[in-house]
């Protein structure tokens, strides 16, 4: 009896593959399919230039996800810091030599590839934090001094991303990291202090913001302030969503997005395009699919028997939630326009790869839920 507890029977590859959450994989594929449909419509009823590439990209990313899922968590435990360091270096590189895109430096061109290091950083921060708290006891985790290193881990990429400037990613890393700290057992008063000091820092952040970012914030507070300029996006997006009504205008029958009222309709505003045509029913279905992913994520976290896996699973789930929430809230006029894509639906390669990589990690936690990991720091 005790013997069996100390050394569980080795699990073969077939068993591992069986443990992959195929249901979750199906839900992810359903979301990507919604992406193909929306992108097909956004291109005016054509597979080119977005929908076809989106499908191909998803196929490749799906294979990658399965491969990642089958890699033992000890590998990720070992690779967490190197990946994090590399992502920081890439962020610095992007600030220095990055190619100008969308008025901000976000891309790095390496050979034929165009990568967005901030997407790597999102996952890297989660991995490092999970690793760090894996090595701490509950008492240590609740101590203030032990909270300083993770704060640095979060704030370094946040600062580098803010410089680019990419407000959306900075928010995501900050809030995603905060969620991990929260479940890892950091004392609640520290979050209160952080919240208060964040409010106190707002004027400073304001002075660091670019003109266009300030405009976006002001516009968010009062969209009618500049209906021709910055407020245009929010107003038009709301009109498109609202006019969709309960059942939508029908596939390929959206007027607002097809008339080019919507900027960036294939990336940040893809949700609007979809919802205009499929109505509230379609929106609820899409949100329900994402909610299913979240529920799966939580259940994987709860079932995992090692702390690293738990934290990793929860971090990935939190990141997924933040993606969806920030994007949807932004296009509905609940948050300022900050440039966060809708995962697996928006057109774009790096975000797709990083989300699917994260999902691979999540599934991997389930596959290796009974792995025994050393508590090294």
């Amino acid at each position: 009896m005790t013997l069996a507890l100390d050394a569980p029977a080795p699990v073969g590859l077939a068993e591992r593959i069986w443990r992959i959450n195929w249901g979750l994989a199906l839900v992810l594929t359903a979301i990507a399919a919604v992406g193909v449909v929306a992108l097909y419509s956004a291109a005016g009823g054509r597979f080119e230039p977005w929908a076809s590439r989106h499908a191909v990209r998803y196929g490749a990313a799906f294979v990658m996800m399965l491969m990642v899922a089958l890699i033992h968590p000890k590998v990720w435990l070992a690779l967490a810091w190197p990946i994090y360091i590399v992502s920081l270096l890439l962020l610095i590189a992007v600030d220095v030599v990055g190619k100008i895109g969308m008025g901000a430096q976000r891309w790095l061109v390496i050979g034929p590839m165009q990568i967005q290091p901030s997407e790597i950083a999102k996952v890297a921060v989660i991995m490092v934090l999970a690793r760090y708290y894996h090595g701490l006891s509950k008492e240590q985790a609740s101590k203030f001094l032990y909270t300083l290193p993770p704060l640095l881990v979060i704030l370094a990429p946040v600062a580098l991303v803010m410089v680019q400037p990419d407000l959306g990613t900075a928010m995501m890393v900050l809030m995603g990291g905060g969620a991990l700290l929260f479940v890892a057992g950091v004392r609640l008063w520290m979050f209160l202090v952080a919240a208060v000091s964040a409010v106190a820092c707002l004027p400073i952040a304001w002075s660091f913001m670019h003109e266009y970012q300030r405009k976006r914030v002001l516009t968010f507070l009062d969209p009618d302030r500049d209906p021709l300029g910055a407020g245009y996006h929010i107003t038009q997006s709301k009109i498109a969503i609202g006019s969709g009504g309960l059942f939508g205008k029908g596939f390929l029958k959206g007027t607002q997005s097809s008339l080019n009222f919507l900027p960036e309709k294939q990336t940040d505003f893809i949700f609007t395009t979809f919802v205009e045509e499929w109505g509230m029913i379609g929106a609820f279905v899409l949100l329900a699919l994402f909610a299913l992913v979240l529920v799966w994520g939580f259940s994987i976290a709860f079932r995992c028997q090692h702390h690293f896996g738990r934290l990793l699973a929860l971090g990935v789930t939190a990141m997924m939630f933040l993606y969806v929430f920030i994007n949807a809230a932004m296009v509905m006029g609940l948050l300022p326009v900050v440039g966060v894509p809708l995962p697996l639906v928006s057109n774009g390669g790096t975000a797709m790869v990083s989300v699917m990589f994260a999902c691979g990690l999540l599934i991997g936690v389930n596959v290796y839920r009974d792995a025994q990991l050393p508590r090294t720091r």
Binding site: L5, K138, P227, G242, G244, L246, L259, A283, R310
Partner: protein
């Protein structure tokens, strides 16, 4: 059931509690999203549906008025004229067929116009109005207004169209505007470019200064009814008119140049201020009438322009390339002097030809010039001297010197369509011809023939850099620009070149200039007839100038043909030599440089020379130091 590990139990307990809390928060936030969707899509959906319906017409951009273009004395070169035009909107092509049919009855559009209009109406995004017809007369306006009930979505709009008062004379420099093309849109996200009525610079300064001239769009928020008629104006933001521009061109001189070129079929004249690089004259004949482009050119007119052998659309001053011929000898001489391949006292013999292996290279003077130094060689344009000088200096040094004097690359003028010409080098020949550089090539290069070719502007730049004492001046077309609210006037005069020095030995430059002076002002000079004006009277001593003739081979007349009595004049026009002349003045204190090319004009000194002389003399007469400020206050703002 769970294996118990020390310390993990309480850790996982805390984790579970807090994770559940976090999940709850996420659930609530997702619920908020759902609530917002309910609010937008169920509670307020009617309001948004109405907004969506009205969306396409509640915002209109106001085209800014395009910046005006003047010459350096303030005479208008491009202005805006009021233009009544019929516009039409339709809801993504709905009812477009009927509408076009009715318009055709009233305005007799014609087949091509009907097709265009139908296409544009169907493509029109956001119910943006499209142009039915421009430059309407009062009768047409009245007819449209009278039939308004039958023409839903059609309205009369007062816009502006471009007018070029100088027409053909300034056609190549000012250029023209046209409808915005997809290429024009690349890299520009100015919403004003989406307007059907906006015009975009296509050629010349209209193109190179496009982003300055265009201005910023205003916007007007209007309430419209279902057929697109404006019911009332809600809000209006005024745009900003484009900047006005003052060109360096002197319109009177430009007209003078065109007058001088009239007797020749095709050619080009460039006059530069050697200190500032200002382009005072840039004439290219024949030209074209830019107003045909402004009103919309027909297929037939366009064909005619393209098929004309004299290439009227071509700005020959910057896009025409010619072998420089003997005008290149200054480059060879400077390269040889600067590289110490020859010195100021070197005398080289000329027997009328020079032999390289079995090939004979001829001097243009059959009996030869005897022994000459570099100054005399330039004055008499002795080919043999420059064959030998080129041989001693070598192709690399000559090409290098030519590049410093502006050959083989585009200038910083900024006009579209400028050619770089070709300054051959060893590497160039290996790559393009596939053969190594030969001595014979160097000989040919030494007298500006062979692979060498250049634009008239480059010849003027070379002359200017020699004349101003070796400063790397760049040609410049824009004297000043200013928004309509600012004062537009010429900048204060400049006495010394601001351009970097080429670091040439001043003594060498003096010798080159002396040689060019002797071309015109000594008994041995190849163009010494130009000492006198066209009436045969000697020039005023303060208006003397120096120059260099050139004749560029188009077709080589062989020994046999020459024996058969074939001369240049007996050849068909398009095979005759090009006539070239470069000059600068005044001799003692050079201020202006001029390059003249008469296509197929046969002899540089006789054909191009008098034009260069008259041009330069006229320019010097008009120098601000001789006359009071000629700048006129602009009448229309």
């Amino acid at each position: 059931m769970k294996p118990f590990r020390k310390g993990d139990g309480e850790r996982s307990g805390l984790f579970t509690r807090r994770a559940l809390l976090l999940g709850g928060v996420q659930g609530v936030l997702l619920g908020a999203l759902a609530g917002r969707l309910y609010q937008l899509q169920v509670l307020e959906t009617e309001r948004f549906a109405t907004l969506a319906e009205e969306n396409r017409v509640n915002l209109r951009l106001l085209p800014p008025s395009r910046g005006l273009i003047f010459d350096r004395t303030g005479q208008p070169l491009a202005v805006n004229r009021n233009n009544f035009r019929a516009m039409a909107t339709s809801d993504r092509g709905r009812g477009a067929d009927v509408l076009v049919e009715r318009l055709d009855q009233i305005l007799s559009l014609g087949e091509a116009e009907r097709t265009r209009l139908l296409r544009e109406l169907r493509r029109s995004r956001n119910a943006q109005p499209v142009v039915v017809r421009e430059n309407l007369g009062w009768e047409d306006v009245a007819r449209i207004e009278f039939n308004a009930p039958e023409l839903p979505g059609v309205f009369i709009d007062l816009g502006q169209s471009r007018d070029y008062p100088e027409g053909e004379l300034m056609s190549h420099i000012v250029g023209y505007t046209g409808r915005v093309s997809d290429e024009d849109l690349a890299g520009r996200d100015d919403p004003v470019l989406q307007l059907a009525t906006i015009r975009f610079g296509k050629k010349g300064v209209e193109r190179s200064l496009e982003d300055d001239l265009r201005g910023r769009a205003g916007a007007v928020q209007v309430e419209v009814n279902a057929v697109g008629r404006v019911v009332r104006e809600l809000d209006r933001t005024e745009g900003q008119p484009g900047s006005n521009a003052l060109l360096t061109i002197d319109l009177d001189l430009q007209r003078f140049a065109a007058e001088k070129m009239k007797e020749h079929q095709s050619g080009s004249v460039v006059v530069l201020d050697v200190v500032t690089g200002d382009v005072l004259v840039m004439a290219s004949t024949p030209g074209f009438d830019p107003s045909t482009f402004a009103r919309g050119i027909t297929q037939a007119e366009w064909r005619d322009l393209l098929d004309n052998p004299e290439r009227p659309l071509h700005n020959k001053a910057i896009a025409g390339v010619y072998p420089p011929g003997s005008t290149y000898k200054m480059v060879t001489a400077l390269a040889a002097l600067e590289s110490k391949a020859i010195d100021p006292w070197t005398r080289l013999p000329c027997l009328g030809f020079i032999e390289l292996g079995k090939i004979k290279f001829h001097c243009w003077l059959k009996g030869g010039h005897g022994s000459t130094n570099v100054v005399e060689a330039i004055a008499q344009s002795c080919d043999c001297f420059f064959y030998e000088a080129a041989r001693r200096a070598g192709v690399d040094r000559i090409s290098d010197m030519a590049a410093r004097l502006g050959f083989g690359k585009q200038s910083e003028l900024g006009l579209p369509g400028e050619s770089a010409g070709n300054q051959p080098t060893r590497a160039w020949k290996q790559e393009k011809v596939g053969k190594p550089w030969q001595h014979g090539d160097t000989f040919n290069l030494g007298i500006g023939q062979g692979y060498m070719n250049c634009t008239p502007l480059q010849l003027a730049i070379m002359t200017a850099r020699i004349a101003n004492g070796g400063y790397e001046v760049q040609p410049n077309l824009l004297l000043a620009k200013a928004t309509p609210r600012e004062e537009l006037g010429p900048p204060p005069p400049v006495a010394k070149p601001a351009a970097p020095s080429l670091r040439l030995n001043p003594q060498h430059l003096t010798m080159i200039r002396d040689g060019m002076n002797q071309v015109v002002n000594s008994g041995i000079g190849t163009a010494n007839a130009l000492r006198r004006d066209s009436q045969g009277k000697p020039l005023d001593p303060s208006l003397t100038f120096a120059g260099k003739t050139g004749t560029a081979q188009v077709k080589r007349i062989t020994e046999r043909e020459r024996d058969m009595g074939i001369t240049q004049a007996s050849l068909p026009w398009h095979l005759r030599h090009h006539a070239l002349f470069v000059c600068f003045g005044p001799v003692d204190n050079p201020r202006y440089a001029c390059a003249v090319i008469v296509e197929h004009g046969m002899a540089g000194g006789a054909t191009a020379g008098p034009i260069g002389r008259d041009m330069l003399v006229e320019t010097m007469k008009r120098d601000p130091s001789r006359r009071s400020d000629r700048f006129r206050k602009m009448a229309s703002r």
